[in-house]
Symmetry: C2
Subunit: 276 residues, 2 copies
């Protein structure tokens, strides 16, 4: 990495014009990308341990990675590839499916708040509160006024989290219709993947232009200074994993975490250990 | 693996006579052990995905790995080494520390029940309900009658989980006082590890014989046909990880999970995909 990837992936291009097979900020092929990912993983793993140590020692820092994208964009694969590189004890995954009846009785942020990171945690959201201005808008699950209210509510919610010591890394995994068609076809062709296929995915596919519009609005209204959106071209899985891991790493570095000081008398502990 | 490891690690020897550096069921050195672990990991990863697929498709199977052991026995390291080999999306870690005031208002199994595996999940317990007959007994946090009641309550609780489709793998990570002394000293000698050290660990260390007694009682009273205990010599980290991974694998194999059948018309989906 020469330029921080965060700066490169914030550059704005309309989604419809973005080639999902680009490899912004990475100069190399798949093999080089996988090697680069391993190097990122080693540093990620150490910084995540420092974050965890900080939390155990009374620190307030935590990190939330939000993954959004159309079906087959690779939210699950990214979690496997990135979260899988760090200590599972310090990581939590929260997947948000269709809201339950209990969740629907509350404001849309209720179920999100309950699954935000605790101090020291690194949490990955597989879908998120953004479904409430994406699917909810496209499928008409809430009226225009309510959808409109939610953008600001999201911004306020995210700002409060950041002011409390949190860091948010929001990644839109960008694919196009062709990439999705290839991946859905691959699922249909492989009987061991049929369980991943839901015919309702095709309903969403038919609403592609409406989803693009909804994503554009999200990028415009919810890319704030404290929690910007990053658009990650996700037509190549190795690049997608490297890019998300690198964005996360850049954010973890800004925390500048050391190792917590001992809160006990080390010499006394050593002497007591020798006696027991 | 020739003999199933599960059979070997159920063989009963008093804990005080058990060498924690044994490598029961494994004939080879550390390098061979790490290689064997990678092979186990590949199969584990596939079977865990089948478990997850089964859960998504309405199946009721799930797996719980319970890890108990004295401080520094490597509960966290085992989770890193074993849980880290499978898809983080299908795995959850639950660590049980000192009960909160809210938890203390309920029966000891209340907080456990809330964190049991959902269908399709693989869950690792870093400490567990057994703390309520180990630490609770040794430190006198409950009276004898209450402790006595808990063994049967645990057996009933575990049996109900198994009858509902669950599988339990209970591993006692066995070390001795010398191994613990070496590991605690290593933590004290390394400033980046001080945050892991809690002087109260030395209180427990002074109660070692009482803990041994409490563990022996657990092995005697809570090793049931549906949920036996396995004693894993944990003086060598590579063996410990291989052994726990292998025990888990042997249990996953017994589930004999295939891939779920498609619940939709594959050909119709393919045609619809071609049109969109």
């Amino acid at each position: 990495m020469s330029d921080p990837l965060a700066a490169l992936l914030r550059t704005y291009t309309p989604l419809a014009d973005l080639d999902p097979r680009e490899t912004v900020g990475f100069d190399g092929d798949k093999a080089a990308g996988e090697q680069a990912l391993a190097a990122v993983g080693a540093e990620l793993s150490e910084l995540q341990e420092r974050l965890h140590a900080d939390g155990v020692s009374g620190g307030r820092r935590s990190v939330l990675v939000v993954l959004q994208g159309m079906d087959t964009s690779g939210k699950g694969g990214t979690i496997r590839g990135v979260a899988g590189m760090v200590d599972p004890l310090g990581v939590r995954i929260a997947a948000f499916g269709r809201p339950t009846p209990e969740e629907l009785e509350h404001d849309f942020l209720w179920r999100i708040g309950r699954r935000m990171p605790a101090p020291g945690q690194l949490v990955f959201f597989d879908r998120s509160h953004y479904e409430d201005v994406l699917a909810a808008r496209v499928r008409g699950l809430a009226d225009d006024e309510e959808i409109d209210r939610r953008y600001d509510a999201i911004n306020d919610f995210e700002r409060a989290y950041v002011e409390g010591g949190g860091v948010i890394v929001k990644c839109l995994l960008h694919i196009d219709r062709d990439v999705q068609a290839d991946r859905l076809r691959a699922r249909l062709d492989d009987p061991t993947k049929h369980w991943k296929f839901d015919p309702s995915d095709l309903d969403d596919r038919e609403l592609w232009p409406q989803y693009l519009d909804a994503y554009e609005t999200v990028l415009e209204r919810c890319s704030t200074d404290v929690a910007p959106w990053f658009v990650v071209p996700s037509g190549r899985k190795w690049y997608r994993n490297w890019a998300v891991a690198s964005l996360l790493l850049e954010h973890l570095r800004t925390l500048d975490l050391g190792w917590p000081e001992a809160t006990f008398d080390v010499e006394a502990a050593r002497e007591r250990l020798d006696r027991t």
